[in-house]
């Protein structure tokens, strides 16, 4: 005697259902990614780095700084002997903070300069 078996066959989902489910899943995934991007958490940039942080990385700019240094050397004027008895010479005017004019090294045997000063 043969026992009859009951076979329950599940129905295949309809094509429309599959299409709608796929579309819904796609929309959900797209929405989630869009939310993340809008929140500044771009998954393509890594788990902890935000877009703003990436953009504020210090910029390294290579700049060439040229400092112009002017070295001034005061050379005493050559002696000018005129026919008159008086002439005058070098006059870098000075102020309280003005440095003394640079003078040429004097010969060893040269006498001390003659100075007219208030006394």
């Amino acid at each position: 005697m043969t026992e009859g078996r009951t076979v329950t066959r599940r129905r295949k989902p309809s094509a429309a259902t599959v299409f709608l489910a796929s579309a819904a899943l796609f929309v959900a995934a797209l929405g989630y990614l869009g939310y993340q991007l809008a929140a500044g958490r771009d998954p393509a940039l890594g788990p902890n780095a935000t877009v703003a942080e990436k953009q504020t990385r210090p910029l390294v700019i290579h700049r060439r700084i040229i400092r112009r240094r002017i070295v001034t050397t005061v050379v005493p004027s050559p002696v000018t002997v005129s026919s008159s008895t008086v002439s005058s010479g070098s006059a870098p005017t000075s102020s309280y903070s003005a440095p003394a004019p640079v003078s040429a090294p004097a010969p060893v045997a040269a006498p001390a300069p003659v100075v007219s000063a208030s006394s």
């Binding site: 400092r67 001034t72 002997v81 100075v115 000063a117 208030s118």
Partner: protein, 334 residues
Amino acid sequence: MRDGTVEPYDEQFDAMGCTVRVMIDPSSGDAGRDPREAGRQAREFILDFDRRLSRFRADSELTALNRDLREEVPASDLLRAAVRAGLRAARSTNGLVDPTLVDQIEQAGYRESRAGLAGVPIPELLSSAPTRESASPSPGRSWRMFEVDDERGIIRRTPGLRFDTGGTGKGLAADMVAGSLADFPRFLVNCGGDIRIGGNEASGSPYDVLVEHPASGNMPHRFKLGRGGIATSGINVRAWLREGGSPGHHLLDPSTGEPCWSGLLGVTAIGPTAVEAETLAKAALLSGPTGARKILSHHGGLMVHEDSQVEMVGRATIRLRLPEVRLRTSEVAV
């Protein structure tokens, strides 16, 4: 002396409350005088000049004159020459350089020699100085009360009036020494900045004379002087703080008897002689910038303003030569 050649004489010593320097170039050959002997005599003369004409010495001839109650006082050739030089300075400046302000200078705080004493820094002096104003002569013109009579060898004046040879003394001393050195090729006598230069070959070989800036102490200018005088007058050296803290110095306004604040710190003047240069420098400083330009215009000179700027005046500006300035520019990459 070395190999028969006499070396130039150059000596400094203290006298008249300042440093005196005498420089004498010897004559070529053996005919000339020994500059060392002439220098020694110059030194003795200046020391004697100081002893006899200092108002700070109780035993000086000048002090004796000022104490004498007679109207006519016998006076030596030297004292008469000194008084005559002071009166000439007063006449030529119409009383601006007044040698009879002894009472006033003592009241201002200058009773004793200030040789070796430090002055007051210029900024401190200026910060508490009164309004800037040029000086003017004393209405009384008491210097006119003095008269020098060389024939009788006396000085006549109203008893009680005192005379101060300090305003022209250094220049006069330099000029008197110069008279004894005229036969040397070249000489220079510097009595505390009042300088006389001369000699029979001096014009062809002028001396370099540096001028000291009264505020900074630098030497902002150099004159070449072959003959004549040059002198500097300023408020930076003989300056002090009076009781109460008000500043004082030795250059008085004759009209007020008070230290003069004209807007100038110092003046250097060139003149035919040292005493004339000294008179011009004092008169210019007392006159303030505008008057100083006029006073210095003939022989030349320079003045230092209160803001420390140096202004050349007169002939000196024509021959002003700026130093050759060499600029070397380097660029350094850092």
